[in-house]
């Protein structure tokens, strides 16, 4: 275990580079605070297809296509595609990548998928198993609502702690050579379940998983939060982020103002009525690709810790009264 440090962390000596990113989103995300930063805003939730599911796959296809082109590569230069989403059997990703005809690993980490993909992609490149890997995470509000919650036209009041699934796809190309911010370390998270049962309060279910992986990351690398310029969790939302800050204060590793959350950044609750914030695999993926990546590249942010978070229940386990297991992966990314 040459690269393994401490209990759960891998240090990537070769610093696999994120050479290109792409973010393709739906109209609501385009109207949000990050609207100008996305590469493509689809005006149509259906993306010109006949179903929400097909639209999600098309977002994934567009995202990968764009990121690979931007990296100055062709799709045949990509040794592996790693992708995941929220839909049953990950159809959002598999239907999206089928036209590429490239080796594919389907991932499931719910909203933490892009973190899982960054860690595994960096391992493939650092381990010299691949020169170029494309990773992607997608979700679609309408497809997720009908799969997990209610029909769109059912008149329901959403609880204040509920979140809004982001429509879109975030893709990145990780390469052994080329310019771009490097992945320096990854701490893989354990499944943490603190007994939260309310599927409308996923931030509270996921915050302990984020706290656990953060503490482990700092201990394994023998650093403190101030090592990083920015610490961004995936989709804890407004209330989940506050809970995480409190948990980290209790552990004497206060995150301070450098802590933020992609779910909080992507929507404006005042004007967009999204309650706790954005969620879904695309939430952290498109926020990283559109906001953090350019800043890392310019050196405005020199070191960041990216912690996509995921709630790993489904509607059946919720009906059976099970609590919500959660996971988070911490990925350290530094500008060149």
């Amino acid at each position: 275990m040459r690269h393994h440090i401490g209990e759960q962390t891998i240090r990537f000596e070769s610093r696999p580079a994120i050479t290109a990113v792409a973010s393709v989103v739906g109209p609501k995300e385009g109207e949000g605070p990050l609207g100008q930063l996305f590469d493509k805003v689809e005006p149509d939730m259906m993306a010109g297809t006949q179903s929400w599911e097909k639209a999600e796959s098309d977002f994934a296809r567009q995202g990968i296509d764009l990121a690979v082109k931007r990296a100055g590569l062709e799709i045949k230069d990509i040794q592996y595609i790693l992708a995941g989403d929220l839909l049953n059997q990950s159809i959002g990703s598999t239907f999206g990548v089928r036209s590429f005809e490239r080796p594919f690993f389907g991932l499931f980490g719910a909203c933490s998928t892009i973190g899982e993909a960054l860690a595994l992609g960096a391992m493939l490149v650092d381990g010299e198993c691949a020169d170029n890997v494309a990773i992607s995470a997608s979700s679609h509000f309408c497809a997720a609502e009908r799969t997990f919650r209610f029909p769109l036209e059912l008149g329901v009041q959403r609880p204040l702690t509920s979140s809004w699934t982001v429509t879109g796809d975030g893709c990145m190309v990780i390469s052994s050579e080329g310019e771009g911010p490097g992945i320096t370390a990854a701490t893989a998270g354990k499944i943490i379940d603190m007994g939260i049962r309310d599927a409308n309060n996923m931030g509270a279910a996921m915050a302990p998983a984020a706290a656990d992986v953060l503490v482990r990351h700092f201990q394994d690398l023998k650093i403190t939060p101030d090592y990083y310029d920015a610490i961004a969790t995936g989709d804890l939302g407004r209330y989940g982020l506050e809970i995480l800050k409190r948990l980290m204060e209790e552990r004497e590793l206060p995150l301070g103002d450098r802590a933020t959350d992609c779910g909080v950044m992507i929507f404006d609750n005042e004007t967009q009525d999204t309650h706790a914030g954005g969620s879904g695999p695309a939430c952290s993926a498109v926020t990283f690709a559109s906001y953090f990546y350019p800043r890392l590249k310019e050196g405005v942010i020199r070191r960041m810790l990216f912690i996509p978070t995921g709630a790993l229940m489904n509607s059946m386990t919720s009906q059976q009264g099970e609590s919500i297991p959660a996971i988070a992966h911490a990925i350290a990314i530094e500008s060149q």
Partner: protein, 117 residues
């Protein structure tokens, strides 16, 4: 006057539903079931009918009124057809409402599509 009574009584029944929604983990689907069953049992005892006489649509339009109609229907069927009415009464009395909802919903599904939010 009957409009005011309908407004107040109907509104209050909805407030009970809202309190259940906000204060308990019950989803709207569970509250609907609860209200229909409660209306049916209260109707069986003959109590709900008194509220309908007082408040008219204020008691019959909310879902406990739907339950009450089932209880009334089952009693009527038993009076007319004997024991088999236990099985047929409830279904018969919801036939108009459910039939209409089925027909309109089917037609709507052919005409409309779900709107993105």
């Amino acid at each position: 006057m009957d409009y005011l009574k309908a407004f107040v009584v109907g509104g209050l029944i909805c407030v009970v539903g809202q309190i259940l929604l906000d204060k308990t983990r019950l989803t709207s689907a569970r509250i609907l079931v609860l209200f229909v069953v409660a209306g049916c049992l209260l109707g069986g005892l003959g109590w709900y009918e008194k509220l309908v006489e007082f408040a008219g649509a204020g008691a019959s339009v909310p879902l406990p009124g739907f339950g009450n109609a089932l209880a009334k229907g089952v009693k009527k069927e038993i009076d007319e057809n004997g024991f088999i009415g236990v099985l047929t009464g409830g279904f018969k009395s919801m036939a108009a409402g459910v039939g209409a909802a089925m027909l309109f919903s089917f037609l709507a599904s052919q005409i409309f599509s779900a709107k993105e939010k």
